[in-house]
Symmetry: C2
Subunit: 294 residues, 2 copies
């Protein structure tokens, strides 16, 4: 954790220590990412990107139809029919989630009860294991996503699911057997709550713009719900990137690529500032690089 000399107007540089060497070398992952060949990146379909404009800022979310096809389809319908417009951020719980909801409108369609898309068979997907141990399951990556696997849950390689990490987007639901209809969503703003894995339809992750939303005031009611309408943050408009002319194209690193393996090794073995590299990194720390296509 790097120090910085505070530039007090009246008393600069009085801490009596040498100014820090700039820039800090936390690790070499940034360079590996910058140098990765084009073949190690996967384009993200603009129809799988949801762009949310709120009173706090813009949040760009990538949807994951391979993991929760019915929920993602329901969310896209809600977006296309404008049902998130004038919705609200209703809940901000510290070290947990920011949660928001579409605006109720009886004239517009909502999904029928959806299947419990909390995990899926591995079959048809390619699982790249993380080299490091995981507390909860077998950690790894599938087609650009942080995922986990239970090899014993069924034939042909078992069952897989998206992991709950900082920035993961999931579907709010009531107690079982409710599975949520996609009209209430949340993103994680704290330590990865992996105990939610296989209990929620995870539908995506934040690509950009989580910061001003993670910095919203925490709600004062149970579970961080805001107390009154005045506290709730307005959602101005939600569209798919495919509906927005000129919206930037995004890409994610291919998690089966040599570049991604090298990024993970670098993150597990940080240098410069670090006197003792960890030699490992947990699943939520091994974020998949994403960026607008340069």
């Amino acid at each position: 954790m790097r120090r910085a000399l505070l530039a007090f107007a009246a008393a600069p540089l009085l801490l009596g220590q040498a100014a820090p060497v700039e820039p800090p070398v936390y690790n070499a992952a940034d360079k590996i990412i910058a140098d990765a060949p084009a073949a190690h990146w996967l384009a993200i379909d603009p129809d799988d990107i949801m762009v949310m404009e709120t009173a706090a800022g813009q949040m760009v979310i990538q949807l994951a139809p391979a993991f929760a096809p019915a929920h993602v389809a329901a969310i896209k319908t809600l977006v296309r029919t404008g049902q998130f417009d004038d919705g609200r951020i209703s809940r901000v719980q510290d070290n947990y989630v920011v949660q928001w909801a579409a605006r109720p409108d009886p004239a517009k369609p909502r999904a029928a009860p959806l299947p419990a898309e909390y995990e899926r068979p591995l079959q048809g997907l390619n699982f790249t294991p993380s080299p490091y141990a995981d507390t909860y399951a077998e950690a790894g990556f599938i087609a650009g996503w942080q995922a986990a696997r239970d090899a014993k849950a069924g034939p042909n390689g078992g069952s897989v699911w998206l992991a709950h990490c900082y920035g993961t987007v999931g579907v709010g639901r009531d107690n079982p057997p409710d599975t949520g209809d996609g009209a209430e969503l949340y993103t994680v703003i704290g330590h990865g709550p992996r105990h939610l894995d296989r209990n929620i339809a995870n539908v995506g992750r934040v690509l950009a713009g989580i910061e001003p939303h993670a910095a919203l005031p925490r709600g004062t009611e149970d579970l961080g719900f805001y107390k009154d309408e005045a506290s709730r943050v307005k959602i101005r408009r939600v569209r798919l990137a495919s509906q927005i002319p000129g919206f930037p194209r995004w890409q994610m690193m291919d998690t089966a690529s040599a570049s991604f393996a090298a990024v993970n090794t670098a993150r597990a073995n940080r240098i410069g500032f670090f006197v003792r590299p960890a030699g490992a990194a947990d699943l939520c720390t091994l974020k998949v690089p994403v960026r607008p296509i340069p």
Copy 2:
């Protein structure tokens, strides 16, 4: 992740779903904590509690002299000589840290170079292993703290250290061999950055009041530093609880107690809302219960 029906003034309860059952039963840990006998709690020395009043609110921090005695002593000297008063929160980096610094004052003493208290021998402490696997080391608990161990690092049970989790407080430093002097501190506001373990003098954890600080605007400069003096959040005053007449006494659960083991089991096997208990929980999820003495 629980849904809630948004109470829009004009259109309440129009989501077409049953109202949620209240209250949700996330797990039984709260009841175990409430029922734990007095013998399963450890009093926290008021001389090890730092009370920080900032423009955002009050943050109460417990110091850990057993793990970083020289750094904690230096911090207490800074507090007692008023050097954090009129300090600043200088950095807020999303999914990482809130960092603050004492006010530079050449007339007041600062610590001489301090030893690298990044880990310590287990000897003299009691390590209670977590029953669950850890990515980084051997996870466990020592006298009310989330800790980790490297049994091979030296004789008599090896080496131990405080883990970097949400709310952990560490000492900012420059590149090695600098070890920090305690005048610049941070707390974690994101996924537990365990790669910092054994690289930083961890000196404590937040007992209360992290929420308004975790909700501060993220800094716009590299590493989340605030750009200018106007952005920095003022620290009004920092005192030890032992200096504040009538300040509440605090306690922490004894991590060697049967109650704490039961809390961990409950957290690893949540019920009610959960259709598939995880059967495990990572170190940062297994927070040690703390509270004002009832």
